[in-house]
């Protein structure tokens, strides 16, 4: 990493004494390295090395000598671990579950965020900063705490929401087998709508006002301006929030893990990450590594794929 820096700048002018700077050029290679090292050393150790290590582990296989309780050793196993991942029905059901979750939750959340951002950007509303703040507040709440808070609102013994719905003749079971996935989706929506709304809102704020004046002169209504002018201009922000949301969905762990504490309808392999953790807890690290790599690859493919697809469509 650092030798790239050591070869230094072409603008450095070295004087005979070895001391630089006759024309105010850049700093010495050593100085540049000193700026970069405090970040790059931990970045390499705690980001790049683990990624490499996971890859290496995922290509190992465990062998045992002398039956099931014999001593074990690992050696190169080719794609054996990956084959096991793809043959694992629990893996596919966790992917299916998270896929269903993402296909519903992400569009709903981003649509609500977009509507809020557009409304905040019109003169229709009062108390704008209050609304902005309220929506963003959940961002300061960690997923675990949010899930604990919501689980009290879901639990039949404590929940004022359940009481209220009982009062009007409904009998909801937020933790039932069909509902618990959507109860988890609601927690994610609660946590992240405001954050996404603010990214879109910031983008709306940077659009020059003259553009609206021009559209108004052409006879465009407020709705037309919102959908035909504003939304296309902030498309990059919408793509960005979608990519963040896809990454977040595939990483889902804390919220279902908390709901699992009060609902028997969430298994220990409910999401891909929960599966990876369960497999690692069973000391099958090579298999857990392969699962982690597959999750990371799916994340990359989906986020890049989405970015490519939308940027071609929108001509961004």
């Amino acid at each position: 990493m650092t030798d790239l820096a050591t070869r230094a700048s072409t603008r450095v002018v070295t004087s005979p004494g070895g001391r630089r700077r006759l024309n105010g050029g850049g700093p010495r290679a050593g100085t540049i390295t000193a700026f970069l090292i405090p970040f790059f050393l931990p970045f390499v150790l705690f980001y790049l090395v683990p990624v490499g290590y996971a890859l290496w582990q995922s290509f190992r296989a465990v062998h045992r000598t002398g039956g099931q309780y014999g001593t074990s050793y690992t050696s190169f196993g080719g794609f054996e671990q990956y084959q096991k991942v793809f043959e694992n029905t629990e893996f596919w059901s966790s992917i299916g579950r998270i896929g269903l979750f993402g296909v519903v939750q992400v569009p709903v959340m981003l649509f609500v965020a977009l509507i809020m951002a557009l409304l905040l950007d019109t003169p229709l509303l009062k108390l704008k900063s209050v609304f902005r703040m309220t929506a963003f507040m959940p961002y300061a709440v960690p997923g675990v705490i949010a899930a604990i808070m919501w689980s009290y609102l879901y639990s039949p013994q404590l929940s004022p929401v359940v009481d209220l719905l009982n009062g009007i003749g409904l009998d909801p079971d937020f933790l039932g087998p069909g509902a618990v996935l959507w109860s988890a989706a609601n927690i994610s929506t609660w946590l992240w709508t405001g954050y996404n709304m603010l990214i879109m809102y910031s983008a709306l704020q940077s659009i020059p006002q003259e553009l609206y004046e021009a559209a108004k002169l052409d006879g465009a209504s407020n709705w037309a301006i919102a959908w035909r002018v504003k939304v296309p201009i902030i498309a990059p922000s919408i793509v960005l929030t979608t990519v963040f949301s896809i990454i977040g969905t595939l990483q889902l762990y804390a919220e279902p893990a908390v709901l699992r504490q009060i609902s028997s309808n969430i298994s220990s392999t409910f999401t891909p990450n929960m599966l990876a953790y369960a497999v690692a807890s069973g000391n099958n690290y090579q298999q857990a590594a392969a699962i982690s790599v597959v999750i990371a690859v799916i994340t990359f493919v989906l986020s890049f794929g989405f970015m490519r697809l939308t940027s071609k469509r929108a001509g961004l």
């Binding site: 290590y53 509303l125 960690p142 009290y152 762990y253």
Partner: protein, 285 residues
């Protein structure tokens, strides 16, 4: 513009817009309001009284129980959280700032390559890192120590990305040149000139990294077995899992949740102009 039908239409949309926003505001506030109400009740009232109405005011007693339970372990968790999230974000912000500043202001070979490696790091799911890190750390004996959570937390590729954008935007090259002509070394220039100009940006990076560490539940869960090292989130998660056997813990989980989020929410309200700058920068791409 003084046309009455236009006015009526705008009054209808005004009302509809306000109604929708109010409904959403209630949705966002509901869990926090419920938590505040529940934290003030004695355990016995939690299930027997209306969850949205105050009953006997028992908050101070609940707090006393919370902070004395298990030899005051909650206080310990709070200190740990400060170490992980506040100290981690502070160190992380400093190293991100140095790196981002260097990438923005120094010209050297491989600069763009290093930057794209960092950007790639933004996309690596942190949960995918936690398991291999656990294996590496258990091989080196760091597992189950403060360092196991602290060290990985100081790395923020997104922080470097923001620092580079902000350094480009807020530190004029001429100022750096003139500091150099005055004989200041690069570090001196950074700390006395650039650091001040970048302060609003650094607060933003600090806030984002603080939230990232504060939210990262998977890493501490994988790394830590010793309760005394837990951050608040992991501690409350564990207590919450025990409420079926120890129902009295429920009130402490509720009070603890409130204690843990209120200071953070207040800080966020006070510092809103900073995170708004950060979000605006994030949306530029």
């Amino acid at each position: 513009m003084s046309n009455t039908s236009v006015n009526r239409e705008s009054r209808v949309s005004r009302t509809a817009a306000m109604a929708l926003m109010l409904l959403l505001a209630i949705y966002f506030l509901l869990p926090i309001y419920f938590l505040i109400v529940a934290a003030t009740k004695p355990q016995g009232d939690l299930a027997t009284t209306n969850g949205l109405a105050f009953s006997h005011f028992n908050l101070f007693d609940n707090l006393r129980v919370l902070f004395t339970r298990s030899d005051g372990i909650f206080g310990r968790w709070a200190v740990n959280t400060v170490i992980y999230a506040v100290l981690g974000a502070a160190v992380g912000t400093l190293i991100s700032a140095l790196c981002g500043y260097a990438l923005a202001k120094f010209r050297f070979r491989g600069r763009e390559f290093l930057f794209s490696v960092i950007l790639g790091g933004v996309l690596v799911p942190t949960t995918a890192l936690a398991l291999p890190l656990f294996l590496l750390f258990s091989a080196t004996g760091i597992v189950n120590t403060y360092l196991a959570v602290f060290l990985p937390s100081i790395v923020s590729p997104f922080g470097v990305y923001l620092a580079r954008i902000f350094a480009n935007a807020s530190v004029p090259q001429e100022l750096i040149e003139s500091a150099r002509l005055d004989g200041a070394g690069e570090f001196r220039t950074f700390f006395s000139v650039a650091f001040k100009l970048m302060t609003p940006a650094l607060v933003t990076i600090f806030l984002f990294q603080f939230v990232a560490i504060w939210n990262n539940f998977f890493l501490p869960m994988v790394m830590l077995q010793k309760e005394s090292l837990f951050p608040i989130t992991l501690g409350l998660y564990q207590w919450n899992g025990q409420t079926a056997r120890a129902p009295l813990l429920q009130q402490s989980v509720i009070t603890g949740s409130l204690v843990s989020i209120v200071p953070v929410i207040i800080v966020f309200i006070l510092l809103q102009r900073f995170w708004r700058t950060g979000l605006a920068a994030g949306s530029l791409k």
